[in-house]
Symmetry: C2
Subunit: 483 residues, 2 copies
Amino acid sequence: MELSQADRQHLDKSKQDTGSLGNTNDGLKYDSGRIAHDFSCIHSKDLLPAVGGEEATKHFLQELVNILLAYISKSLKRSSKVLDFHYPHQLKEGLEGFSLELPDQPDNLEQLLVDCRDTLKYGGTYECKIFSVNRFTYEISPVFILMEEVVLRKMHSIIGWPEEDGDGIFCPGGTMSNLYSVLLARFHLFPAVKTHGMSAIPRLALFTSAHSHYSIKKSASVLGIGSENVIVVRCDKRGKMISSELDSSIEAAKSKGQVPFYVNATAGTTVYGAFDPLNEIADISHSVTWNPHKMMGVPLQCSTILVKRKGLLQECNQLCAEYLFQPDKHYDVSYDTGDKTIQCGRHVDVFKLWLMWKAKGSEGFEAQINHCLENAEYLYYKLKRRTDFQLVFKGKPEHSNVCFWYLPKRLQNISPGPERDRELHMVAPQIKTKMMEEGFTMIGYQPLEDKVNFFRCVFSNPATQREDVDFLIDEIARLGCEL
Amino acid sequence: MELSQADRQHLDKSKQDTGSLGNTNDGLKYDSGRIAHDFSCIHSKDLLPAVGGEEATKHFLQELVNILLAYISKSLKRSSKVLDFHYPHQLKEGLEGFSLELPDQPDNLEQLLVDCRDTLKYGGTYECKIFSVNRFTYEISPVFILMEEVVLRKMHSIIGWPEEDGDGIFCPGGTMSNLYSVLLARFHLFPAVKTHGMSAIPRLALFTSAHSHYSIKKSASVLGIGSENVIVVRCDKRGKMISSELDSSIEAAKSKGQVPFYVNATAGTTVYGAFDPLNEIADISHSVTWNPHKMMGVPLQCSTILVKRKGLLQECNQLCAEYLFQPDKHYDVSYDTGDKTIQCGRHVDVFKLWLMWKAKGSEGFEAQINHCLENAEYLYYKLKRRTDFQLVFKGKPEHSNVCFWYLPKRLQNISPGPERDRELHMVAPQIKTKMMEEGFTMIGYQPLEDKVNFFRCVFSNPATQREDVDFLIDEIARLGCEL
């Protein structure tokens, strides 16, 4: 993203720090003479990987270091408070301009620095703020608990749930979110399982597509349901679950005495990027796993389980350990969210998502995802025109995945069949080994069902440009043509 | 920690950057004239919270920012490699001085900067290095996978397992580590459970002390065993599991047709800091949960499950998803550790532990834990001498937990009994509310069994000094004396 001429002038303009950034150096004398920068006219899109973004990125990171250092030094003073308690309604109403709400348009970098400072100021105990740690009760990490509430509510509204519905929690990875979803569905139908175990309830069956993520089977194993009770439903050529097959699988399970209790539908499968028929399945669903670490580009770990029925998470997971969750507190203890989770103390994964949302706005996320989809389409059309590449399935990609084989010269004139497949299966691994040795590109491959090893290019990096796509194709052809 | 005069002079001595820090600014021209600092004679203990540590901390953080920026800028160039592949044996042997091994003595800060740069250099793909992400295969995050191996092996040796034994994994929190331990024990005895579920195996029973962490019950609920099958074993007055009670509980479960398969022993219970009779229980154990986020002071999340039997983690959790784990690779795929875990992509929790170990050395950890234990003993002796405080159990603390009541004036002369207890139960919550409103101290309380609400002070912050302990006692007395 290029800076406008005006932005550049603004960025280059250095001025003395007149306190416009607030009390950056509360009581500290590190840098009394340092030159501060004006961040009010630049945005996160002007930082690296933006062309010419080095200087702005450097000064922004230095300012963050200053904020952290000032905070740490202040906290270490014995005269400092260990916490500055505010009741939930005070923080939600916004204290001195600190708003947790998520914007559609990006905030400027000065606002983000203010937000970081405010997060430290109102965040709770020292340890929680510096290390982004949630020790499960409101008193210890008030800002992060309210941040979770605000972000999860925004996600509920995007899903389309009524405002009075909806609950959720951040989980350590997408597989854990899916595990929560299975756990919740089981508890919803058979609450006795929590106390009495699987022996007290009927034999269960759950359903997922042949192309779905392996986390559903892992969950079934872990939860004591058993992986064989995950019924794998057939997909069409594009990798979408076939609804009629789901219906007949459910009937078949019932006739064997199993109780169907869970259907997993995927929006964007791992390999093909396929969308299962979500609308047909959604009517009976209670929960959504949404992984901001995927297309939204939030660094791992950042995954959520969103639950339609309020209270279900709490009922399912709470044990009310008195030494952690005391009911006799002076604030609304429903904000002590720790007992909703399987974990206890947690890493605060919400902060980076919240800050990115402030920095990009909803529109920024939309634009970056659209850019990835455009790259996928660009690659698709390029490959379609070439005789040395072959697409794995027909039709434009619906998501950012493009799946294809590369055909070395000697295989281009052999007609498709078991003989060619045997050779073709070895091509992708050989090209990838060469790629890794040279180190300029890296792309994954895998077989799937009757398809031998094929490359899978998934666009999720918003910095990727068309010339990178061109380079990738040329590299594969260069490394593979003589194989 | 005070700097010596010589250290101070060294620290103050500024010199031009002559490249002694290596290629900090590979090809970049940000700061060609900047003044670099010599970090070779100072150590992490000289940084904040050390007295006078502000300047050194600031320059150290700035150097880290420079290293990150240089790396990011270089990575964004199209001419840069996306990875610089090295085989596992190359990285383990040490490349150009980069050693993953953990020292007994602390490394100096210059070495730590070099280590950070080397981690970036050999770390794998861009995303993994910047965001500390482990995308489960060696090719994508080689350094972090080897780092895990080195750190886990060190932990095995401290536990005392023979070098040829031992396996393990970092988990998102201690509860998850405990869940893994129950999962592994169940699979070890009844591997059929993975595929067939709980209905294919006998009714299980597991054992844990009355004072143990609630994660054992949570695990039993999640895993489909049922929380009622967690048999709670009675403790002595110091909160230690009574061995004879464990024996009779096991016999009682057997006589009811349950199969005992798991005993949890705790080293340092949550409230009392009690140690269960580990040696008596250890003979039948297969795994250890070790949480570096506790006494070692590593920021959350940082928890490990260490398993004596090699291969058990992999057998228990692998599903061999072909799209993730291809057997036809050009290196030893046993380094693709992702299939050992319930999760898939993971946050790299090992890096901060590894870097802290380099920075402190084993001796640094030992000293900081001893310091916490000394603080606990100091508090114990102070409280013992006072009439307005009462200790919850007799005898010196064995760990860093000190549990006590504060007795306001009006309760000091009432003899112990239900009437006094009814009043005493309300004292800790009232004092804590006042603490939170004023914000200068914060301490937890809880009831336990027949004991009404008492304060629990757990020392884990190495920066805490005796004067902080004095201040805490004075504050409690000041806020509580008139209650």
